[in-house]
Amino acid sequence: MTMDPGAATRKGDAVVQVEGLVKRFGSRTVLHEVGFEIRSGEVLGFIGPNGSGKTTTIRCIAGLMRMDAGRVRILGHDVRKDFERAIAEVGCLVENPEFYKYMSGLANLKQFARMYPDVDAARISEVVTRIGLDKRIRGRVKTYSLGMRQRLGIAQAVLHRPSVLLLDEPANGLDPEGIRDLRLLLRGLADEEGMGILVSSHLLSELEQLCDRVVVLRSGRVIGEGDMASMLAASGPVACEVAFTVGSPAHALEILGGERPGLSRLEGETVVVTCLREEVPEKVAALVGAGIAVLSVVPTTASLEDRYLQMAGGGGVE
């Protein structure tokens, strides 16, 4: 065996260790001692409002930006001191998936395949099949939709079987089917191939179904980190907004307590009520008991989002 630390990785071991990461743009500090780890076989959600430093953190891990202080180790290799070894274990998709538009998707993948010693044609077609681009892979990237480029972006990131996957907003531009495919793909890569995957996203409901753990970033600081399960449990009573689509909305609003600004209102055929998650079943029961046809009950905000909003202290660009 060689001394390659990658060979010794077991599920649950840290594959990326970020310690005391500081980044300044001029006099403005955008990352304040950010620290967390990505473990083998997990999907780590990376949440934060716009401008909280998610992308900057990913850029520092991937070596696109120099850090002003701190250290990033990938399978034990320092990104700054041993860049080539460290980055060889990383696949990443930072921001929008941009390619050489005048070339086909396949020609693009071949470009990246040539940069690794062990990616052959068979591996390329395996990946292409897995991300579901077989039919259009010979077409020019110029003709691709954003969703297709997003898929190609995932393909170039996983081509060389990295131990670490860094995905910045990978669900951007994907249709619901694409999002489901992505979720299945990432879960498969984490569970079967033991990759450690970092996913930043604004689609919090997607993260809830996908991630094992989450790290919450705000104003360049980590303000929360934990298992998805305990995160949800710890969230305690969380108010959420629920839209009831009913047969007779006016009557339903009366039963649900009448019009109260900020708590319940009428929106065309639907009654929108803000209440605790636990209260939803009894409200449905009340409506059914009053003989009102309940056509649908849709939570308009997901629970993780609520938790996140509570931690992050509201949205808005920083």
């Binding site: 850029r59 941009e98 470009q111």
Partner: protein
């Protein structure tokens, strides 16, 4: 599994393939072919039959050479009698009808006049020797009239290639930034200088293809226009006629023209690496390419006429004073204008500029953050 050694060559391959798939590169190859054949067409239309004898048939090489040798001998005799009168009487009346020379010359003017006359005699003698050499061996009256002579005359095409190399270098670097693909390139197991070096080599691989294509068309054109005629390139060195195979002269001309290509496109490469936009890089490089020489000689002349040392120094260390090295190397005889300073100095200045460009390009590319 040892992933530490990543091979560099495939990177260069990538940087060759990428531009080759762009339509603009295809157009460049098309233009080189078009311009090459246009040159052949124009030459064939303007080719004069040359002097004719009393019967109207063109003169043979032998006839032309005999005439010329006669003229050269007469000129030398004339100059020699002038020299004799200068030496005898200290009076000179008509070297070349120069008004400046009065019947009675001041001692230093006389000295200059004698030196000039000797110089004319000596260089005419060299031409005479070269023509005699041609006559003796039955060579064409001039190597310019041969197939390879045509090829050598097409060295100017390299200027066109310089424009293309500038565009290739600038777009090759800057488009990665403007297109956002730089992130896909820099997050690979290669340090940044390797990525940039592969781009740099890729540009010159394509430039080299264009260069070979131009040389090929020039050679083909020579044969089409003048058949398989050839003559060695004759120079007068150390008191004897020296013959160099003409093909070396053809290659030397293209190679010397490529010095400018290399420097200007490396400058474009540097600007693109630092500023990450192709427009500025192409614009500035081509602007300097076209006005650099003129501005440099204007500075030198102004500096000399008005005695402004700073202008003289600037001109002396300007890259553009030396991008054309042919006067240093392709000197047929002592009569050719020889620039001030030595070849060694010229090359030193060029090497300095080259390494400055390369260093700035690599620093600019490697040290800065990528958004």
């Amino acid at each position: 599994m040892n992933r530490a050694r990543f091979r560099f060559l495939p990177l260069v391959g990538n940087e060759f393939i990428k531009p080759m798939q762009r339509i603009s590169t295809f157009v460049m190859f098309g233009i080189v072919v078009l311009v090459g054949f246009l040159g052949i067409l124009v030459s064939s239309l303007t080719q004069t039959t040359g002097a004719t004898d009393s019967n109207g048939s063109p003169l043979t090489d032998r006839q032309i050479l005999t005439d010329r040798i006669q003229q050269e001998q007469q000129a030398i005799q004339r100059q020699q009698s002038n020299l004799a009168s200068l030496l005898d009487k200290g009076v000179y009346e008509s070297i070349v009808g120069n008004d400046r020379l009065q019947p009675t010359l001041a001692p230093d003017e006389l000295k200059t006049a004698i030196a000039e006359t000797r110089f004319v005699i000596s260089s005419s003698g060299q031409y005479l020797s070269i023509d005699q050499y041609r006559l003796d061996r039955g060579l064409p009256q001039s190597e310019d009239s041969t197939a390879l002579g045509y090829a050598a005359s097409q060295g100017w095409i390299v200027q066109l290639l310089t424009v293309f190399a500038v565009v290739l270098a600038a777009v090759g670097v800057a488009s990665e930034f403007t297109g956002g693909t730089i992130r896909l390139l820099l997050t690979r197991p290669f340090r940044r200088w390797k990525i940039l070096l592969s781009k740099y080599i890729g540009v010159y691989l394509i430039a080299l293809c264009l260069l070979f294509l131009s040389v090929g068309i020039a050679l083909l054109g020579g044969v089409m226009l003048r058949g398989f005629t050839s003559s060695p390139y004759l120079t007068f060195v150390n008191g004897a006629v020296h013959a160099t195979p003409m093909i070396w002269i053809v290659l030397l001309r293209f190679a010397l023209a490529s010095v400018e290509l290399l420097l200007i496109s490396t400058m474009a490469f540097m600007i693109a690496s630092v500023f990450r936009t192709s427009g500025l890089s192409i614009g500035l490089s081509l602007f300097l390419m076209f006005i650099g020489g003129t501005v440099t000689s204007a500075m030198a002349n102004l500096g000399k006429s008005y005695d402004i040392p700073i202008l003289q120094t600037l001109a002396k260390f300007s890259m553009f004073a030396y991008t054309d090295l042919s006067p240093y190397i392709l000197r047929r005889d002592m009569a050719s204008t020889v620039p001030e300073g030595s070849l060694l100095f010229a090359v030193t200045v060029l090497v300095f500029y080259y390494f400055a460009f390369v260093s700035i390009a690599f620093l600019g590319f490697s040290k800065r953050d990528v958004a």
